[in-house]
Subunit: 407 residues, 2 copies
């Protein structure tokens, strides 16, 4: 497997575009399009929130219908959530307009929206935006990056990832883009992430690879504990790599799944590290667990704790908060056996042995915590399973962004 | 029932004291004592966190032993959590010293600690503090207030409440004190709260009244979603009101329980409103629910949402975040039927009808949200049950306090 540059246009036959449609933002691109030269098998996972945005309902129906999809239309600024019947009509009209402009089947148009909840999307601007998008389409990496930029809300940087593997002598590429960066606590998948691949793969294998990997990637990140109304992850496969078809329970499937995992984990970590107001990516790794589930519950509880996140922001090795967060996670473990470590590019130190403090240098701890990527490791010394979760620090920036987000 | 001034010394026969023992703070009182002239029947509820502070383990053993208790020794600054066997020895020595100085049974000394996790308490300072406390004891309201002040950590004001009822011609008093104000997301009871009463009451009735009421009061508040290692709620009854004994399933029990509820709810709301960095008490009231449990889950999800709390801080009527938080709460409801209102001393307005926005004045909404006590009301129009939860806004102050709490 090789990591390569690019995002949704890295795989063969995929094009992307960005446009300024002025849906809510005045001075930036706010619509993106992904277009595949050939119709795609599609898998998707969506928010578990009972309050589902209209595009979530739309996309789920498309994915479940089994119709091949050929385009994704995304807007930032307005989420099209809590918009009643009008929200559904907007999806219908968006798909219709895209189908008309691109000359494709309306039933295969997917939609993503992100932004403020409760406002209606101005349809005329979307229609004009779709025309601009169609005119802007291109298959190079730059077009992929521009699309990744257009779907941002409070994100500070675009998020892309791509890898290549060989399947039976053919090069298969998987690339993707995602956006955060608040209301991030996915429970099925993340806010918005779009993955494209040119692999030839059975629909069953595509769906299996995606739904399994979500559990270890997007579902293991949290920015603020708020599970969004719009969480959507789509994986489109257009088969243009011409490899022998990948089927479940084969070595080729395993390699495809592993490559997909790298793209998903990279995007998930980029979302966590660019959480609203974040200055650091904060990873919690729990080792020595009896079961993977136990390790996951403990790791996620650590990265979700406001107190732990504020301590990371302050570069303060306040390890009691980490143990406390593990304690209320709901997972059983023996705190009297737990060891804790901090690690980053600046080094690694042990803070706790068997549940109590060991002597360590506060200065060194602060150095470690001052890096842009920080890991807390909890070894509960019960078994051999482990898991990681990713979050970010909690800073003044988060408050600034969210105390007045709508204005 | 009459609300009266005072706290733990409001009921007959209870004395309190405060002292500066310099356990961690240099320039303030940091130890408190509650002393009853007569031994007390005692009920208690404690943190559900697996990581339990030494005093929690100690108090639970005292309460479960059935021994009557006569004194509570509390320190602020160090939590005596994650302190291993040494933490238990400190409880033993604290109880021993208090018993010696007060001339009471060591087995009836209760202990509370709050502050930094993982540090050991300097025992010599505690011993000197207990001597000062014993010398300072007094039964007036001022002594109660001084004790309430001494147990504060990041709290900005002391928290007391007291009420009186008549039972068979005798005046029965219930009073209490509590402290917050971070790591507040009680799951059995709150950080530290101590309630005293002179009621004559059966141990069974005392326990029942406390454990039921906890569910509707302390367990319905959240400052930051972090369930502490030290949560402790104790209720001491010394019987000095000389009323006929209160037993379960009697009108007298109901009146006692109702009075206890007022004290508990008052203290719980004071903890929420004085959450770290808070500028407002934020209440979420869910009405029209099918079951009380459903209403509670929805209400608590609203006050726990970082995004909702940041919107309250910004006086921004970002109602989509409220519906979103209800949607991921885990409780079922139909978002398309929900109505939302905002209410405070400045008035009441409707924001949402049947899941979609109604026209409302943003200026009026901001006025309502600028008050020190703000209520969001969600009517899900299914039934007749309702519940409230209490939290606070999320501000820069929370970050300031928690990014560098230990220094």
């Amino acid at each position: 497997m090789e990591r390569i540059k690019g995002g949704v246009t890295a795989a063969k036959g995929f094009q992307a575009a960005a446009a300024a449609a002025h849906i809510k933002y005045a001075d930036r691109t706010d619509m993106a399009m992904i277009y595949s030269e050939k119709p795609c098998k599609t898998a998707g996972t969506f928010t578990s929130n009972i309050v589902k945005a209209a595009p979530v309902t739309w996309d789920r129906a498309v994915v479940e219908s089994g119709v091949k999809s050929q385009a994704v239309i995304v807007n930032s600024g307005i989420a099209n959530a809590c918009t009643g019947a009008e929200g559904g009509r907007i999806c219908q009209e968006t798909a219709g307009k895209a189908a008309e402009v691109l000359g494709i089947d309306e039933a295969g148009v997917l939609i993503g929206s992100t932004g403020v909840i409760g406002m209606q999307i101005p349809m005329e601007r979307v229609k004009a935006g779709i025309e601009k998008l169609a005119a802007d389409l291109g298959g190079d990496l730059e077009h992929g990056s521009r699309a990744a930029k257009a779907i941002m809300t409070t994100d500070t940087r675009e998020k892309e990832a791509a890898v290549q593997i060989e399947i039976g002598g053919k090069t298969v590429t998987i690339g993707g883009m995602a956006k955060g960066s608040g209301m991030i606590h996915p429970n099925m998948c993340t806010m918005l992430a779009f993955i494209t691949t040119d692999a030839v793969i059975s629909k069953k294998a595509l769906k299996k690879a995606l739904s399994r990997d979500v559990e270890d990637t997007y579902n293991m990140i949290s920015v603020d504990g708020d599970t969004s109304t719009n969480d959507t992850l789509l994986l489109l496969a257009n088969g243009m790599a011409k490899n022998e078809k990948i089927r479940c329970n084969t070595p080729e499937y395993d390699r495809f799944a592993e490559a997909l995992h790298v793209v998903n984990e990279t995007l998930a970590k980029k979302i966590a590290g660019d959480g609203e107001g974040a200055t650091a990516l904060f990873e919690a790794k729990v080792t020595g667990a009896s079961t993977k589930e136990q390790a996951k519950v403990l790791a996620k509880s650590i990265v979700c704790s406001n107190l732990t996140k504020a301590a990371v922001a302050g570069h303060d090795a306040n390890w009691g908060r980490i143990l406390c967060a593990m304690g209320y996670s709901g997972a059983e473990f023996d705190p009297e056996k737990a060891d804790l470590y901090l690690e980053s590019r600046a080094g690694k130190i042990q803070l706790v042995r068997d549940g109590s403090a060991v002597a360590y240098s506060e200065e060194k701890a602060t150095q470690i915590l001052s890096e842009p990527e920080v890991t807390a490791i909890a070894d509960i010394k019960e078994g051999t399973e482990q898991a990681s979760a990713w979050g970010c620090d909690l800073t003044h920036g988060y408050i600034d962004i969210n105390a007045d987000y709508r204005s």
